[in-house]
């Protein structure tokens, strides 16, 4: 029953997505999709594998530059440009992953940040990135050489970039579906197991480094897809895309919406991007407002708002399940034995 409910919900969302550009400014929607895909890709790593990367802007922005350059200067069609950006991000993810995947916790976060800063300086200094200006006026081009993505339709006094909108919407849906499939796959089970108890996964014979590396590469690749798509939407690849602010934003989006939930990062991205856009008149105070909302959310809903919502829905549907007989004692005993991993690390 829950399954058919989900299917109905999905169809409704799909219809909303198809109709949305007639109601809401399409470029804003496309921006939402790009960041939502970015956050979902990031969540594969943070929420499902348990790895906190502080350098994901390197993949988002790196792909943005590569796609921008290829489309603008090498005559790539938009879909080939995005594909190239995605593959480049995957390759960068592989290199980052090789260098970081053996590290744990804060060291992992710090090294990913350091590597991302290297990418930032390359973007600043390299001859083909446009330095402080970035790559501007990237053409939107023709999809498959046929459909003009730059075309705007004029309806009721509004100009709508419908071709580009449906292209971006399709990319978002495909990326989201791929991540959903990844999470609900044999591989998805194993990364969750690693997140839950890595030494145990090792003791069951899993080569956790390879598996974590694959998760990292998938996450980087789809972050790249998001960044590449963003370049076509704004016709711009800039230093902001590779900066640590962007790395921080995606952490925020994911935590806000709910770590390790499928829809959470989408909601988180929508919230953060809406606030940034809606409050842009107050300048740098946006950061303060978002920071305050973040603090409130963390205090009120530990699981993020989607996590909290799904818990409430579950409760309503299933009734409050009493926990197993000695559930309370169990907490105490585990507290006592908590300092485990030290004994297992070499």
């Amino acid at each position: 029953m829950e399954n058919s409910l989900n299917k109905k919900l999905l169809v409704v969302l799909l219809l909303i997505g198809l109709g949305a550009p007639f109601v809401v400014y399409p470029v804003f929607l496309m921006q939402l999709y790009c960041f939502a895909l970015f956050a979902c890709a990031f969540n594969l790593l943070l929420g499902y594998t348990g790895l906190l990367s502080f350098g994901h802007a390197a993949f988002f922005g790196g792909a943005a530059y590569i796609t921008g350059y290829l489309v603008k200067n090498a005559g790539f069609t938009p879909e080939m440009g995005i594909l190239a950006g995605t593959l480049a991000a995957a390759a960068m993810g592989f290199v980052f992953g090789i260098l970081t995947i053996r590290r744990q916790g804060i060291y992992f976060a710090m090294i990913t940040l350091a590597l991302a800063q290297v990418v930032y300086f390359v973007a600043l200094k390299a001859p083909f990135t446009g330095g402080e200006d970035g790559l501007q006026n990237v053409p939107r081009g023709k999809l498959l050489g046929l459909v003009n993505l730059g075309r705007t339709y004029h309806l009721a006094g509004k100009s709508l970039e419908l071709n580009l909108y449906y292209f971006v919407f399709a990319i978002f849906c495909a990326g989201f579906w791929l991540l959903y499939r990844t999470i609900n796959s044999p591989f998805g089970q194993v990364i969750k197991a690693i997140r839950e108890n890595e030494p145990r996964a090792v003791s069951l014979g899993y080569r956790v480094e390879r598996i974590k590396l694959l998760a990292f590469v998938i996450s980087a690749a789809l972050s790249g897809t998001a960044g590449a798509t963003k370049t076509l939407v704004f016709q711009l690849a800039s230093l902001t895309d590779v900066s640590w602010h962007t790395s921080g934003d995606v952490v925020l989006m994911t935590l806000l919406g709910g770590l390790g939930t499928v829809a959470g990062p989408v909601m988180g991205a929508f919230t953060v991007v809406s606030l940034q856009t809606g409050l842009s008149s107050i300048g740098s105070w946006v950061t303060v407002v978002i920071g305050a909302i973040f603090v409130i959310c963390v205090l009120l809903f530990r699981r993020g708002f989607v996590g909290e919502l799904s818990r409430i829905i579950k409760k309503v549907f299933e009734g409050d399940l009493p926990s197993e007989d000695s559930g309370r004692i169990q907490g105490r005993q585990e507290g006592k034995q908590a300092p485990g991993p030290g004994a297992a690390s070499g």
Partner: protein, 250 residues
């Protein structure tokens, strides 16, 4: 080919000048339940970590079925058929017991990296999963979050997960620790049941459990082997009694 499934030669581990395990020779016979006992801090868990290659020995060698595994990786050792449990309960708490067991069962399928396949590709494992959960009395709780299970049931789940790999040898680190009498009995029976057809090396504090299960016992004290033999021999050994009782009371 040696008759020993597991054999260590002068196995030692030093932690920054502190000799936690010193010149340990343990030999475990095929098909045997072998207990490793000793006071707290004797180095039992460290020996387990060495055997399963979670930590690297300072010196000495480890042989599994005559193969030198001293330089192997922990996952490789597991693939060779020696699977351990942990002193702290080693479950995947936010997965269900069903999923916990499935993680172990799916490993031999070699689909760990198949991110494009649906979960239903694992449906063929369902019967086997339920069979294993039934063996440890968890079939009713198969789809509840594991965090909600009582402690004893988590240990049982851990054994079911380990069993799923059909390991030739199981290493159990204090499987009955922190349990009430009823759970202790249940786990004891479970270990007896799963011991059929495989070798078990277990660390255990509860001497009643040791007496009823173990065919051979190695006593460890301050990182060294103090004695080895049958339960009767061990329990008559005065230096064992002294080391064991002395620090048990202290």
């Amino acid at each position: 080919m040696a008759q020993w499934v597991l054999e260590t030669k002068k196995l030692s581990k030093e932690f920054r000048g502190f000799l936690a395990v010193s010149q340990v020779d343990i030999r475990v016979q095929k098909g045997c339940v072998h207990a490793l006992i000793g006071p707290n801090g004797a180095g039992k868990t460290t020996v387990f970590n060495l055997l399963t290659r979670f930590i690297t020995p300072s010196s000495g060698a480890i042989f599994f079925n005559g193969v030198d595994i001293t330089k192997k990786k922990p996952a490789e050792v597991a693939l060779m058929g020696m699977v351990r449990s942990f002193q702290i309960s080693a479950v995947f708490p936010n997965l269900t017991p069903f999923e916990n067991v499935r993680i172990a069962l799916q490993r031999p399928l070699g689909t760990a990296c198949h991110f494009w396949k649906p979960l239903s590709s694992l449906d063929t494992l369902s019967d086997k999963i339920m069979e294993l959960l039934e063996a440890v009395g968890l079939q009713q709780l198969a789809h509840r979050p594991t965090v909600e299970l009582a402690y004893g049931r988590k240990r049982a789940l851990e054994i079911a997960t380990t069993l799923a790999l059909e390991p030739e040898m199981m290493l159990l680190d204090e499987p009955t620790q922190g349990m009430g009498a009823e759970d202790v009995e249940r786990i004891t029976e479970l270990v007896r049941k799963v011991a059929a057809g495989r070798t078990i090396l277990m660390v255990e504090h509860n001497l009643k459990v040791v007496a009823s299960l173990a065919e051979r016992i190695t006593v460890l004290n301050r990182g060294k082997v103090l004695a080895e033999g049958h339960y009767e021999e061990i329990s008559r050994n005065p230096s064992v009694m002294e080391a064991y009782m002395g620090s048990e009371n202290g």
